[in-house]
């Protein structure tokens, strides 16, 4: 079986577990929704909310990413599933890609929901011209976040205290995604009069980030889970 096919099988397995357990729809999406409402309480001014909506979308995404990553590796930790995969000789790079894809799909669902929430709750508007930039930002940022999330999730999987350690490790690393994705979405939505063309350079940053951590993660994941017992 080649690597790509294994990755697809792993991703399918993770998504099937999510579909049956409904953790994403019953817990993570509501959590993200509550976060958006809480932001509105904290920044009590409707014109300010519209101005900072792109940043809040990505902040809520990052917080939910932490929850999703923990979920993604707690299903592996139960019954020693990750150990079983390793003992069965499954290629760790394929496991990494598979789990990243599954995480990315869930993140994408989450981001679309958050965008809708921003439109409904914060009065953000999506101009037709910005749709392409918006979609490109969503895809590249999601790839980067999924790669980083899976890598650091694998690192902390199976250790006591990982729930508290994961945010400390992940948040500084994903700071470039927060900056880049926020600026790109700002220009896609035209927030505060930012021109559409100013968004595209940020896509470059997001793409470099995704590629760097995609490659780095694939190289590091094997040695990492070998040690996680």
């Amino acid at each position: 079986m080649n690597r790509w096919r294994i990755a697809r099988l792993i991703a399918g397995k993770d998504l099937r577990i999510e579909r049956r357990s409904k953790v994403l729809t019953n817990q993570v999406l509501p959590f993200a929704g509550v976060t958006m409402v809480m932001f509105a309480f904290a920044l009590d001014a409707s014109n300010l909310l519209e101005r900072v909506a792109p940043g809040l979308i990505w902040l809520a995404t990052l917080f939910s990413l932490l929850v999703l990553v923990q979920r993604s590796f707690s299903i592996e930790g139960e019954d020693g599933a990750l150990d079983a995969l390793r003992v069965a000789g499954v290629d760790p790079v394929a496991v990494y890609w598979g789990k990243s894809i599954a995480l990315g799909v869930q993140l994408a669902v989450l981001e679309v929901m958050l965008l809708i929430a921003a439109v409904l709750l914060y009065g953000a508007e999506v101009p037709l011209g910005g749709v392409v930039l918006l979609l490109t930002t969503l895809v590249t940022a999601t790839c980067g976040l999924a790669c980083v999330g899976t890598l650091y999730g694998g690192l902390t999987a199976g250790f006591t205290g990982r729930e508290t350690l994961l945010p400390l490790l992940v948040l500084p690393v994903v700071a470039p995604v927060l900056i880049g994705a926020t600026r790109a979405v700002e220009s896609a939505l035209g927030t505060g009069g930012v021109a559409l063309s100013e968004g595209w350079p940020w896509i470059g940053l997001l793409a470099v980030f995704a590629v760097a951590f995609g490659v780095g993660g694939a190289l590091a994941f094997g040695p990492l889970i070998e040690e996680a017992t």
Binding site: L151, L155, T156, F159, T160, G161, L165, L168, L169, L171, P172, V173, A175, P176, I179, G180, R183, P201, W202, L205, V208, F209, A212, F213, G216, A220, P223, L224, E226, E227, T229
Partner: protein, 262 residues
């Protein structure tokens, strides 16, 4: 799982002989470094607070620079050493725990110096800019870097065997190398208004008073010596801690065996 560490088996007896022969972590070399550190620190105090003149614009506040610049330089040096030692640990066949301890000790020192440089920088900023913090590129990158290495130290504290600790932290140490330029690039795109580098500017002219430059130089030398001294001691303390861990495990096993046979 890797086979139970041939390195540790070969390493432990040598260390036992070594550790048994002396009570502390000091050797001739560390004592020399210690004395040199004290002497240059004395110089730094004399030049930084006494001989060097006050600046035309920054007045007395410029003296903070004689601590601020060396600590920043050292923090970056320490993190570079951490990355290099992490790489050496991962990519050499022997997987020597010595490299891992150097990486860890260097990161600890780097975090302390980075905290110092953030603190001194904030004081200088309050005096010169009128605010403690500016959201400019260099400050923001430094703050993120500081948090990243606090995370690195937390990973070292996760527990598990020495080899697990070494491998895990080496990977994090190397990922930080990937992360630093990305964070720096993104934050620099975000905004920048930090004072341009004065000593290392591109045209090679040093635009500073001679005595000020000399004080800065003394500061860099003094803090670098301090770093080497701390690094040697700290890595040796770590070696002793590891040894104690191993012995503690052996003792516990012996105790259980004694219980089983009695």
């Amino acid at each position: 799982m890797t086979p139970p560490s041939p390195t540790r088996a070969t390493e432990a007896p040598a260390e036992q002989v070594d550790g048994g022969a002396r009570s502390g972590t000091g050797t001739f070399a560390t004592r020399m470094f210690g004395i040199a550190t004290l002497v240059t620190m004395g110089w730094l105090v004399a030049f930084g607070l006494g001989f060097s003149p006050a600046d035309r614009d920054q007045e007395e506040a410029v003296r903070i620079m004689y601590v601020h610049v060396p600590t920043v330089w050292l923090a970056y040096l320490a993190f570079t050493v951490t990355a290099a030692c992490s790489g050496l640990y991962l990519f050499t066949k022997k997987h020597s725990l010595g490299f891992d301890r150097f990486a860890g000790a260097s990161a600890e020192i780097g975090v302390v110096f980075m905290a110092l440089s953030l603190a001194t920088g904030m004081l200088w900023g309050k005096l010169t800019w009128g605010v403690y913090w500016q959201w400019d590129a260099r400050l923001t990158t430094t703050a993120l870097l500081f948090v990243s290495y606090v995370g690195y130290l937390a990973v070292r504290g996760l527990g598990g065997s020495h080899d697990q600790r070494a491998k895990r932290s080496a990977i994090i140490g190397l990922l930080a190398v990937l992360e630093i330029p990305l964070v720096h690039w993104s934050v620099r795109l975000w905004r920048s208004l930090h004072q341009e580098a004065t000593v290392l500017n591109t045209n090679g002219d040093v635009d500073m008073d001679g005595l000020m430059l000399f004080s800065l130089f003394v500061g860099v030398v003094a803090f670098t010596l301090l770093y080497v001294w701390l690094l040697l001691h700290r890595s040796r303390v770590m070696a002793m801690e590891d040894q104690l861990d191993d012995q503690g495990l052996d003792r516990a096993i012996d105790a259980r065996r004694a219980e089983a046979t009695s």
